[in-house]
Amino acid sequence: MQLYLPIAEVSVNAYALIGIGGLVGFLSGLFGVGGGFLITPLLFFIGVPPGVAVATGANQVVASSISGVMAQLKRKAVDFRMGAVLLIGGLFGSGIGIWVFARLTALGQVDLFVQLAYVMFLGVVGAMMMQESLRSMLRARRAGGVVIRRAHVHTWVHGMPFKMKFRASGLYISVLPPLAIGAFVGFLSAVMGVGGGFIMVPAMIYLLGMPTKVVIGTSLFQIIFTTAFTTVMHAVASQTVDIMLALLLIVGGVIGAQFGARFGVRLKAEQLRILLAALVLLVCFKVAMDLVLTPAEFYSIMPGRLP
């Protein structure tokens, strides 16, 4: 069924959109990532202009994150207090990020910066996660199924002031590290144009020592607010949110998120982390290839403003 999108100004297949929404929603419910990194290229592929794809993708992520959080909430796997602290840090970070983005745009190299940042962060984060989860899985296997369970590992993070109890995560740590992580991810998401779940999830697991199961719900919780903010900003600043496109993506997305959350329950924490690491590395590889391989067409046309 073909449908003409009023803002994107292109006629697309409605079922393809529901499918894309469903796939991204599934990953969102499974890993606690927003999926902005995936939805933009997929929409671009079926002919939606990049500006509309980014803005409308953010709107879809709001819906699938809410759907995912509700599913996690039933298992009490959302740490609202931690989410709020991360969010406060995130607001500061994105404020700085928006300023840096404007400077880079003025210099004309924002695309390159975004791509390099992608490759660097995704590469490092993915490799670290993959190595850690493989090791812990091997260890579990060697120990003959008996896993030594520790609530969390004590690191330098635990020696800082302004301690706070995060009951859902079983943590009693300083608020400074979560604030800093929130600010850093907020900065990156403003500059790179993605929700930042990719960096937030590993940071919560490895730097804060939060249990994997709580991380997903908490990450989704804070993604709701950052993407909601992004959606409204785009709607006001550039009128690029296509509500009809969003509706179709959302129909697929919220259902996909429910399936993802159910599927995630059946997986072990290590398996979940390995899969996420593989996905991160895959995206990193793809972006790196785009930078290195000789493109088929050296020129690109973008809508511009009248001189």
């Binding site: 449908l3 006629s11 709001v62 699938s64 409204v232 009809m244 020129y299």
Partner: protein, 258 residues
């Protein structure tokens, strides 16, 4: 004396003005009468491309001149929109955008149909002068900008927004002609200009212009206006829809208890 002079000047000016359209008459013994199957296109939710029939006839007072080839060329041009064209170059092993131009507004759609092979239908000089097969803006570049302008034509042709289709106009008895022009599914709102050229021996004998009005209608119109007139409200409405859908799906699935 002064008044007489002024009067004569005015008379001369009037003569010149009235004479202008009359001037080509001796040459244009043949004129075009053209019509469109529809002069407006409404983009509604189920819009998936549309076909416009362009038809017409050659009107003449005298019998057909023998031995001189009559040809018809039709162009359809979409609204001009500003673009930025960037070029990638390899710097330190990676491909980055190194150069760009802003050529101004270029047609979002450009289709050319002819009744004969192009070189037979129009001489290159005449084509250049009238800007027929290629909009003038994509031709008048300097050494630096011309590769960018060529890229616009190449990319837009590959995407189906620009086309040159030779031999697609049916010309009957050197009098009746018709062709179908396919408007793309990614249609931009605006006025589409249809130009019909009549040529003999590669020279334009007559031309007419028609306009197709392309407008969003119904729900598409409503959403587009809402997004531009009430952006904040529109953004919040999008969020509300997202929130309701997210909550609704979760409520529905927990009701299912699977």
């Amino acid at each position: 004396m002064m008044r007489l002079f002024a009067l004569r000047a005015a008379l001369l000016a009037t003569l010149a003005v009235t004479a202008l359209p009359v001037m080509p008459l001796p040459l244009a013994a043949e004129t075009i009468v053209a019509g469109l199957s529809q002069s407006s296109v409404s983009i509604t939710a189920d819009y998936a491309g549309s076909e416009i029939l362009i038809y017409g006839a050659v009107k003449r007072e005298e019998p057909i001149l023998p031995g001189r080839s009559l040809r018809v060329i039709i162009t359809v041009s979409g609204p001009d929109l500003p673009v930025v064209v960037r070029r990638k170059d390899r710097v330190g092993g990676i491909w980055i955008n190194t150069d760009r131009i802003r050529p101004g507004a270029v047609p979002s759609f450009y289709a050319v149909a002819t009744s004969a092979p192009l070189e037979d239908a129009i001489s290159p000089e005449e084509d250049l002068m009238q800007g027929i097969t290629l909009p003038r803006i994509l031709r008048d570049g300097d050494a630096r900008s011309q590769p960018f302008l060529d890229a616009i034509r190449r990319i837009r042709t590959a995407e189906g927004f620009y086309s040159v289709k030779e031999n697609t106009i049916a010309l009957t008895e050197e009098t009746l002609f018709r062709t179908d022009v396919l408007l793309p599914t990614a249609l931009v709102e605006g006025n589409y200009t249809v130009r019909v050229f009549l040529t003999r021996d590669g020279k334009v004998v007559d031309s007419v212009k028609r306009t197709i009005w392309v407008r969003k209608a119904g729900l598409e119109r409503f959403i587009y206006n809402a997004a531009h007139d009430q952006p904040l409200l529109y953004g919040l409405a999008s969020l509300l829809m997202a929130a309701l859908a997210g909550w609704g799906a979760s409520a529905l699935f927990s009701r299912l208890r699977w």
